[in-house]
């Protein structure tokens, strides 16, 4: 009967309740679409960046990230590899051994980042084969190297040329070798395009005198939200450091944080709209029933019961709007999810600078919808404080007189 009473009370003035519900409805739709676009785009950017090179996380030697010394390389056992690859949500784990070396052709010498990797795993993770512009991709049984396009031009290299590598290996050993150029790749960033040399992991281990050693294991997982769970699991391997994408890609992490903050400010503005819609209505619903409340208390209704009724009313008004908003936004968000927006114009450059395709993705994560409901419920409950205070200080005689 309390429910019935509250429910019927909110429909006493249909127009007013509908206006309040509509303001909640539109604010919720906007909030959901905005969040969906933001969260979807972040996930897409993070995924693209992770896939480009670093992975969502890496297993490294303790202290490797800070000084990049070959001496901090690690030599995981077969069991360790097995543990990592079978960890929850892990999709792939690509071992790499990387260091710096001087690379030269006849006349020219440059500094290059020389990366030994498993050709198959590397391609599965980063689509390295797609970046090939000339020649052939790495083979697991050959010493051929892949050279980035910028470096190729600086060294005036052709496929089949011999590339001289010269550097320092594990524990300061001299590293020197000549390998044939198998092909050229084009990297999305100038910096990488001017410095990368890929070769077989086995070849690199020989070159650096570091048999079975790697400097990192780049890991992809199925979903960004599973990162913590995966890391928690991997931390059981106590001898290694686990690096997250946020640490390895600090610029991107910060720009996402910044963008997210501006998104949250927008959300707060929308929530203020919702608050006014709900609160204004509740205030009117309460003030115009001053006498009625007086009657109810006179005939023996305890104040707390009346407070429950008015609180339910706030929740109902808010929820009529929020449920309609969620139902209304689901088809929209799903449509956008399956038809992402491709940017044109100036915005494309910002994305491309980050090595990400200029696409606006929409997330359909149920958390987005659910959190709207929770926030609006909180707003409704906060709005319900007004009637509670109103009833608390209500004197039935005065109310009856009004």
């Amino acid at each position: 009967m309390y429910f019935t009473l509250s429910w019927r009370n909110i429909w006493r003035n249909k127009k007013r309740t509908l206006i309040a519900a509509a303001s909640v409805f539109f604010a919720v739709i906007m909030a959901i679409i905005m969040r969906s676009a933001q969260i979807g785009s972040y996930a897409y950017m993070i995924h693209s960046s992770a896939k480009l090179y670093t992975g969502y996380l890496q297993i490294q030697g303790e202290g490797y990230w800070d000084n990049r010394s070959m001496n901090r390389s690690i030599s995981p056992s077969e069991d360790d590899y097995e543990f990592i690859r079978s960890a929850p949500h892990v999709v792939s784990a690509t071992p790499r051994l990387e260091g710096f070396a001087l690379v030269s052709n006849d006349t020219a010498t440059k500094v290059a980042q020389v990366i030994g990797t498993d050709p198959e795993l590397e391609n599965n993770m980063t689509d390295l084969k797609d970046k090939l512009i000339k020649g052939a991709y790495l083979k697991s049984d050959s010493d051929g190297v892949l050279v980035a396009e910028g470096l190729m031009k600086m060294l005036k290299l052709q496929v089949g040329d011999s590339l001289v590598l010269y550097g320092q290996g594990y524990h300061g050993q001299m590293a020197a070798a000549i390998y044939p150029v198998a092909g050229f790749i084009k990297m999305p960033f100038q910096e990488l395009n001017n410095s990368l040399v890929f070769l077989n992991l086995k070849t690199a281990q020989r070159f650096y005198s570091a048999p079975d050693r790697i400097t990192s294991l780049a890991i992809m997982i199925d979903k960004q939200s599973h990162l913590d769970e995966t890391i928690h699991h991997l931390k059981k391997l106590e001898k290694y450091a686990v690096m997250r994408w946020e640490e390895m890609l600090p610029d991107m992490y910060q720009s996402i944080q910044l963008d997210n903050a501006s998104g949250i400010i927008m959300l707060i503005i929308l929530y203020i709209v919702i608050t006014f819609g709900v609160f204004g209505t509740i205030m009117m619903m309460v003030s115009e029933r001053y006498k009625e409340f007086g009657v109810l208390i006179s005939v023996g209704m305890r104040k707390w019961r009346l407070m429950i009724i008015t609180t339910l009313e706030s929740v109902f008004v808010a929820f009529v709007g929020v449920i309609a908003g969620i139902i209304g936004s689901i088809p929209l968000v799903y449509y956008m999810h399956h038809n992402p927006i491709y940017f044109t114009g100036a915005a494309t450059q910002t994305f491309e600078a980050m090595g990400v395709e200029p696409i606006f993705y929409f997330s359909t994560d149920s958390v987005i919808f659910f959190s709207q409901a929770v926030v609006v419920l909180i707003i409704a409950l906060a709005s319900a404080i007004y009637p509670v205070l109103f009833i608390r200080k209500l004197e039935p005689v005065e109310a009856l007189h009004s």
Binding site: M1, T4, L5, R8, N9, W11, R12, K291, E292, V295, L296, I297, S298, V299, G300, M301, R302, K303, R305, P396, V397, L400
Partner: protein
């Protein structure tokens, strides 16, 4: 023991510039099954008297005992429960819950008392029947005439099985025919259910129907006669 014992009741309003002596040393008893009118011109203190009798307002001095309970010694939440279980109210402007049907308005009081749904429905129908509105049980107040609404209000006031019913000018908003019907109804309930009624009025036709007439003037009892 009297149903209601009123001793040296004073009520002074200090809210305006001049203090208003709304009740002035009222002492009287009300017995069970009375059918009593409190009369007097506007401003004589009738409403103040009924509000204090109903535990809605506190006297400035003096006390009221209902079946021996000094109701102003109760805590405010206990007083609300006391009103629920012992006192029925009928208001001048009916004041039914507009979104409830006649039956729900009557049931609601029993809901507050914790009566089971089945029992509530049965008793609400019986009460509406006794006020002659069984066929309008599903009508909302705005679908009923003033007289019908006031009869629902009477049914509501009886729903909690109170010790007595207070009605402040219950006929003031009614035409004379409906007023007469309401008085008939109250009289019947007084006789058949032994229900005590205390009502205020300044309508001569209503005053005539009372068995005891207490006349107030400037807050004091001017006369107290059996009719």
């Amino acid at each position: 023991m009297a149903l209601i014992e009123i001793q040296h009741l004073d009520k002074i309003y200090n809210s305006s510039a001049v203090a208003v002596h709304a009740l002035n040393d009222v002492t009287l008893n009300v017995e069970k099954k009375e059918f009593t009118a409190i009369v007097g011109p506007s401003g004589s203190g009738k409403t103040t008297m009924l509000n204090i009798l109903g535990g809605l307002d506190k006297p400035s001095s003096g006390f009221i005992k209902i079946e021996g309970t000094d109701i102003f010694k109760l805590k405010s939440s206990e007083l609300i429960d006391y009103r629920l279980n012992h006192i029925g109210f009928v208001f001048q402007a009916y004041n039914l819950i507009p979104v409830f049907t006649a039956r729900e308005n009557v049931e609601f009081i029993m809901l507050l008392q914790g009566v089971s749904k089945k029992e509530r429905e049965k008793q609400a129908m019986a009460l509406l029947d006794s006020v002659g509105l069984a066929d309008r049980s599903n009508s909302r107040p705005n679908q009923l005439s003033g007289g019908q609404q006031q009869r629902v209000a009477v049914a509501r006031s009886l729903a909690s099985h109170p010790d007595f019913v207070l009605a402040d000018e219950p006929t003031a908003n009614l035409d004379s025919e409906s007023a007469g019907d309401l008085l008939d109804l109250m009289e019947t309930l007084n006789e058949s259910h032994n229900m005590t009624f205390i009502f205020s009025t300044h309508d001569d036709r209503v005053i005539k129907r009372a068995r005891r007439i207490i006349t107030l003037q400037d807050g004091a009892v001017k006369s107290d006669v059996m009719n």
